[in-house]
């Protein structure tokens, strides 16, 4: 490992030598994202216009965002970071930043200000959850249900009501969100959820509530599963990312309805892996400034129903690029959808994830 680090260093120095004088930029850029409709929206909104302005640049996509933390850690240990800009969820950005695997950024120094002059930090506001994170979108994990198979549910607790809404439901195979929904539907006040979940009795209470529907749950790991299970009629309701449900409903015309109650907000954004050579870093910063400006983030919403992370982008959100429908009502942040939301506590989960995972997995295996 020492050897590879040394040789990587040698290569880095060789690459940096010419760029020491002028800010020379590498012409290749490797972006990491999640594939599917989401990556497509990034390609259309950021990459295509960027390539039009910079025809010499070659941009490659990699669909490894789900394993980003493990892979960046492995690359870092091997001393050979091949990624330039990585799309991760908020909690992953905190982990990478904590471990020194992502670069800490001066948001106002490197990002574009809003058109009215508001600084980037103010424009993104609270969504900059870690020093390494440049937010792009707000998405939510929420429920879809078959409009033709069950009555319209109006609360998230419908997932626990197998009498009124018979049939299977799909839930993500992890404790996050599910434990909170279980406690909420077991009568715990929204503000107390994390206090209760912090005790052994609270965990037992949440698992006991989930126990009542254990035989009726299909557990998913990939975001595409719930829309497929709903389309097949395998489940009558299920949680997934709201953008996936939007494509199933609006683009594919499936008989699926959205249940926004207690939707769980999360963020997606960019991080720059630590230790990039100067020329590649310069290119990344150039692209990042362009790709996260007000107009680009608003443009992305033409292709997918995720809310832009900049406050200044919201008024610019227009119509769907192909369908021509208004996108604003399909955003998780739209006031009509966000009347009762669950604010997922990244910090709490960062501390307790290992512990709860062990209990959750043990419960699943029983």
């Amino acid at each position: 490992m020492k050897l590879s680090k040394l040789s990587a260093l040698a290569v880095t120095t060789a690459l940096c030598a010419p760029s020491a004088f002028a800010e020379e930029m590498a012409n290749e850029l490797t972006l990491v994202s999640w594939g599917g409709a989401y990556e497509n929206s990034q390609h259309k909104a950021y990459v295509e216009p960027y390539l039009a302005a910079n025809p010499d640049v070659k941009i490659t996509w990699s669909q490894s965002a789900a394993e980003a933390v493990a892979k960046i850690r492995a690359m870092n240990e091997a001393g050979n970071v091949t990624w330039d800009l990585v799309d991760v969820v908020a909690s992953d950005s905190m982990r990478l930043c904590d471990e020194g695997l992502a670069e800490e950024l001066d948001h106002d120094g490197i990002l574009a200000a809003a058109p009215d002059g508001t600084s980037a930090t103010d424009d993104f506001g609270d969504l900059i959850v870690s020093d390494c994170f440049v937010p792009q979108i707000v998405y939510s994990t929420t429920f879809g249900y078959r409009t033709d198979l069950i009555d319209q549910p109006d609360t998230v607790c419908a997932i626990f009501d197998t009498e009124k809404y018979p049939g299977k439901r799909s839930l993500q195979k992890r404790p996050i969100d599910n434990m909170e929904w279980a406690l909420y539907c077991d009568g715990v006040a929204k503000d107390d959820i994390y206090d209760v979940l912090g005790t052994d009795e609270g965990v037992a209470q949440a698992l006991a509530k989930l126990d009542t529907i254990k035989d009726d749950v299909v557990w998913w790991t990939a975001g595409a599963e719930t829309p497929q299970l709903l389309a097949d009629g395998e489940v009558v309701m299920g949680s997934t990312f709201n953008g996936r449900l939007f494509s199933a409903i609006a683009e594919q015309g499936q008989p699926i309805g959205m249940l926004w109650d207690m939707q769980s907000f999360d963020l997606d954004g960019w991080i720059i892996p630590a230790g990039l050579p100067a020329d590649r870093r310069a290119r990344v910063l150039d692209f990042l400034k362009f790709a996260t400006d007000t107009q680009r983030l608003a443009d992305q919403a033409k292709y997918i129903s995720y809310g832009p992370a900049r406050a200044s982008s919201a008024p610019l959100v227009g119509k769907h690029a192909d369908l021509g429908i208004d996108m604003a009502p399909h955003m998780p942040t739209d006031p009509a959808n966000a009347s009762n939301v669950h604010v997922y506590d990244y910090e709490w989960w960062a501390d307790n994830r290992d512990d709860l995972d062990a209990k959750f997995q043990a419960w699943l295996a029983k």
């Binding site: 020194g100 299909v218 501390d351 290992d354």
Partner: protein, 423 residues
């Protein structure tokens, strides 16, 4: 060989010991053979053995605590955790110095992550203190105990200090204990609370289901291999292609196909409902459980069973069966007493292949296994790529490797590894 046969007698006539010249010739031969396989050997060493060894070492590696908190570890040497008293002021001073240095180098979160596996909640104490301590002039600003506890009240918890002391060695048994549902308690190793035990269950389940899959493969594969070996060549070739065809199809495609077939609104259930064998309201649950994993994996691993059996059966001389029958044996006796024993080496080879492949499978169980049909390899994959607990993943992997080697040894004792043939 020709060298030896020519030079051997000459040397013997010379009076030079035949043994020595023979040994020299053999040595040369061995050298040549070694040189020929050297590229492969080197390749395996660099791309397989070293990485596996490196990964396995992670299951006991605990250098991070001493690397990041050297002064604290030293200061805690004299402290008696059984006293249930907070350590002396010196330990707090050492910790403040270590923490400040670590926070600047951003290593404090790494040690926090390590200790958080053993005592959940410690990560946030380290992380929050690390953020604040950067502004603190720790060289000459006491009293450290009050100031640290003021920084984060977590430092006033004796349990936290106990965890640091318990896990201050450069090697740890923590990951291995966790991998068998145990933990280091006050009086040495003890079982984890009931609601956190999972790995033993998963290991036993993995072994049990792999055995079931291996036996299903034998049952389904044996007649096919027999047909392949006994049909005329033209028909056998066609059949062989049918066996190999799924082999050439992507694993994901085959697994997804099983999903479509087995699910409750899937092809099999639809057909059964249409025939009237199954009531529409009570469709069979064939997927997202053990059954789903067993069906899909038996199908996927079947070629690994059929091919070794087929190549062994091909070498069985058909005249033996005829001889047995001519001496009055019934069809069954001839098969059971004459044919079957000769085909056992093929079953052995196929079973080892299928069993070892099955034990390490994780894609298929993850897709069709739901919660009851997943294997321990799914948890290893989870710890390597999602939770980031590589130490625990490595420990689970090491245990799995040891169990497979043990079973291999048992197999050697019972059936005999010489009794395994691939053709």
């Amino acid at each position: 060989m020709t060298d030896i046969s020519q030079s051997g007698p000459v040397l013997a006539a010379d009076g030079t010991p035949l043994k020595r010249s023979l040994a020299r010739a053999l040595r040369l031969q061995k050298m040549r053979a070694l040189l020929l396989i050297a590229p492969l050997l080197l390749f395996i060493l660099l791309t397989f053995i070293l990485p596996v060894a490196d990964m396995l070492y992670r299951s006991v590696d605990n250098r991070i605590v001493q690397d990041v908190l050297p002064r604290t570890v030293q200061a805690l040497e004299d402290w008696d955790p059984a006293s249930n008293q907070l350590p002396e002021e010196a330990a707090f001073a050492a910790l403040a110095a270590d923490l400040k240095e670590a926070a600047n180098a951003k290593t404090h979160t790494k040690v926090a992550k390590r200790l958080n596996y053993e005592n959940p909640g410690m990560a946030s104490v380290f992380r929050k203190s690390g953020r604040k301590i950067k502004k603190w002039d720790v060289e000459n600003d006491g009293p450290y105990r009050e100031r640290l506890i003021d920084l984060n009240k977590g430092w006033g918890d004796v349990e936290l200090w106990k965890t640091i002391k318990t896990y201050s060695g450069i090697r740890t048994s923590g990951y291995f204990l966790n991998a068998v549902d145990m933990q280091l308690g006050a009086d040495g190793a003890e079982m984890r609370p009931e609601n956190e035990r999972i790995y033993n269950t998963m290991l036993i389940r993995t072994m049990r289901m792999s055995l079931i899959i291996t036996f299903s493969c034998i049952l389904l594969g044996y007649p096919v291999a027999w047909l392949l070996a006994n049909l005329p060549a033209s028909k056998a070739n066609l059949l062989l292609i049918l066996v190999l065809l799924p082999f050439w199809t992507s694993l994901l495609v085959r697994t997804s196909a099983w999903k479509i077939l087995l699910q409750q609104q899937g092809v099999i259930n639809d057909t059964l409902v249409w025939i009237g064998l199954v009531d529409d309201a009570n469709r069979l649950v064939l997927i997202n459980n053990e059954l789903g994993t067993i069906i899909a994996m038996t199908h996927i691993l079947l070629p690994f069973m059929i091919l070794p059996m087929y190549s062994v059966m091909q070498t069985i001389n058909p005249t033996y069966m005829r001889a047995a029958k001519s001496m009055g044996a019934t069809d069954w006796t001839a098969f059971w007493r004459v044919y079957f024993p000769q085909s056992v080496p093929g079953i052995g080879a196929g079973s080892i292949l299928v069993f070892i492949l099955a034990v390490g499978y994780y894609i298929t169980p993850a897709l069709v296994g739901g919660t009851k049909g997943t294997f321990i390899s799914n948890l290893i994959a989870y710890h390597i790529s999602t939770s980031g607990n590589w130490g625990l993943g490595a420990a689970l992997g090491a245990i799995l490797l040891a169990v497979v080697l043990l079973l291999y040894w048992v197999y050697d004792k019972i059936v005999g590894i010489d009794n395994v043939k691939l053709g």
